[in-house]
Subunit: 433 residues, 2 copies
């Protein structure tokens, strides 16, 4: 097995190089991760730091990989990219960064680590250079020793996201759905923002089982700045019962560009993305869009057509392959039907799939009756009784069929005999629509 031949942790030099690169190269700068994967982290960092021109063969190798990833000729120019990456060189003097983050219970996961979440590979060239993490740490605690237990398991993680401007309805549904998902031992991923994100994190924490670390917040800025500050208490709880992740190096500020890039990581870490509330133009829709791009199923919670906070969800449902989800059981169906690897371990999924009978049973209330029996039942008076002869005329069936039908109906206790006639056993509450 491959896992036996791969050391659990990458060499520290590689980790330090990727730490520096994650500060120099902006997320979404696709030539960055392509160059790192072709030349290696150390050589890429050396080229940036030294100011050397890349060799012809380096340029050619990187250019070919970039071309096969679909980058335009302009985007493929390595020398231009190196100039771009050099602009932030002044920021990477601090070789203590990794060590000091370690004392806070944090660190940097890189693709060379055995613990690296392989789902991120679905992003292709957009795979992040590294994933900074932060746990609830203490001085005598090695964060790398426990990080694996906090990472999202493939096929067992769901993103619950939405707008910051939420309604009470959206907040309730996000909280309740996340709480129930945690009860299914699912890890719930969100973005730590106000509104739906915060409600989802809180619900997850409320539903956590003993020993289960269900909460993951993926930030757009560094894991040392828990943004927004107003969610400080929530982040403390997430750190205590889960993990905070970011591709941005410590100290980095969140920007609109980084929020949108961050959303691709939320999508890639999840087996499904659920949008609870979103306005017509909402960043949460970009998470859904990223998820569809890499083949993750997307669910959207419907709401009032009069609510602007549900307009983005309805937009997804009308114009994309997103699915209606109404509760956590629907989300589990979505994961079971389309998410990878999940069906086998999850008996509760099977149960929830059976919860919804197929659409064909519209008439199930009448299914037990054949057509003749149904017509006889319809012809029976509700409060009085009547004769088989009169039933024959009303139902349009010959007398022998009336008697046969009445005896079938009597066995199902739908009719009663009384005063020498026949009537319904219970009043009809509802005669159709």
């Amino acid at each position: 097995m491959l896992a036996d031949n791969v050391p659990a942790w990458a060499p520290e030099g590689t980790r330090q190089a990727r730490a520096d690169l994650s500060r120099l190269i902006e997320p979404g700068d696709l030539l960055g991760s392509i160059t790192v994967s072709v030349l290696g982290a150390e050589r890429t960092l050396h080229l940036i730091r030294s100011g050397q021109k890349p060799s012809a063969s380096d340029q050619q190798n990187v250019g070919e990989a970039a071309e096969s990833s679909g980058l335009t000729p302009r985007q493929r120019k390595l020398s231009e990219a190196l100039a771009r990456w050099r602009t932030r060189l002044a920021q990477i003097g601090d070789t203590q960064m990794l060590r000091s983050l370690g004392r806070q219970g944090g660190g940097l996961l890189i693709p060379e680590d055995a613990a690296w979440p392989r789902q991120l590979g679905d992003l292709g060239a957009a795979q992040p250079i590294g994933l900074w993490f932060r746990l609830s740490g203490s001085d005598d605690h090695d964060p790398y020793a426990s990080v694996s237990g906090h990472l999202p398991r493939s096929g067992r993680s769901v993103a619950v996201v939405g707008s910051r401007e939420m309604t009470d309805y959206g907040g309730h549904v996000a909280w309740e759905t996340a709480r129930e998902l945690a009860g299914y031992s699912v890890t719930v991923i969100s973005g730590g923002a106000y509104g739906i994100d915060a409600a989802a994190h809180r619900g997850t924490l409320a539903g956590a089982q003993r020993g289960h670390r269900p909460a993951i917040a993926v930030l757009a800025g560094g894991v040392d700045r828990l943004y927004p500050a107003g969610n400080e208490g929530l982040f403390k709880d997430v750190l205590r019962h889960g993990i905070v992740l970011s591709e941005m190096a410590p100290g980095s500020a969140p920007t609109r560009h980084r929020f949108l890039q961050r959303n691709r990581i939320i999508a890639a870490l999840s087996a499904a993305v659920v949008v609870v509330e979103a306005r017509w133009r909402s960043g949460a829709l970009s998470t859904a869009h990223h998820a569809m791009d890499i083949g993750r199923p997307v669910g959207a919670v419907p709401g009032s057509v009069l609510s602007a906070s549900s307009a983005g969800c309805h937009r997804l449902l009308r114009h994309t392959p997103a699915h209606v989800v109404t509760d956590a059981a629907d989300v589990m169906e979505l994961v079971a039907a389309e998410g990878p690897h999940i069906g086998a371990q999850a008996p509760e999924v099977i149960e929830s799939s059976q919860r919804h009978a197929p659409v064909e049973d519209f008439f199930s209330a009448l299914d037990g009756l054949d057509e003749a029996a149904r017509r006889i039942y319809d012809a029976l008076p509700v409060r009085r009784v009547t004769t088989p002869g009169r039933l024959s005329e009303i139902a349009g069936l010959p007398i022998p069929q009336i008697f046969a039908g009445l005896s079938r109906l009597e066995r199902t206790r739908l009719v009663r005999r009384s005063q020498g006639g026949w009537g319904r056993a219970a009043p009809s509450r509802d005669i159709g629509s």
Copy 2:
């Protein structure tokens, strides 16, 4: 042209025979309409009335037609069917029925009439034997002369249906959607029931244009008994501005079986069916089911996942090809995309299709900017100004690109120059989600 060779109205003998047959043969008794179409209405009625055994060739012809319509051997037995149909013979003595209904502004349309709604043919063997109608009549008025103008035009009629137990939300959406559909010159078809049906009829009447007859109520009982009686005022308005239809002969009571059968007629007369609110088990779902069976598009209005009155709509959206509709414009898109014959005559459909931009424009607020410009914009302070050198470091771009980007941003008025530095022209309200 065929229309020139076909008399506008069928012979009165045929009409009288179908009037009688519509009283003898229960809706959904498929061998009935098959027998009528094979042997003709008069001959079928004669066989029932006379008590004669059908000839071997009659039996064979009817049996073959029934077999090709998928009826089981038991369902195909003509002699059994004749016995069934004879049970109500006592009810058809009244040859004055058609004439007295005529004085009330009513009559019977039959497939032999040029005005017969051809859409009903999509029901195959389940096509009704006739369609009783009632208009707002007066003594000097020939209802047949004006009935054509009240019938649903193919591709220009929409069913708006739902549960009787509606919420304020459902009532509002049904009323508003129907009102706007009437504004698009669409005929709105519903079932005259309490709740969503009544709200849809009322909205239609509120939105009717001068000279447009937009309201159709299809009943499960006779058109002379406007059921439910509590909607009497509404029915009067529908009769004044539209038409009431039923396959059941005058005097017939509505039964659960007939409500469910009636729903197939609503579906067949419509270019699309919209379910506004429906509980998990609701008769309105049967209308949607019938519509799908004959290839009509179905829309469902989403609502709160916490509302039992929307559970049936969400069920349709989860388990069938039903589409999310949020307003009348969405319904028009549904009709234009999938309904027959409608696109050409309907300029407002094109307009409404363009109303929703495609889902790909998630980032349209940023679309005008290339990636470099976006990173520069992100790096600009909101309330202060900064230098190009500082921007270079924050955005991770070389100085020449910073200057080029700033001048592009300045042209789009997104940035401002002030006190020798650069800042955003307007505060960022929203930095992602």
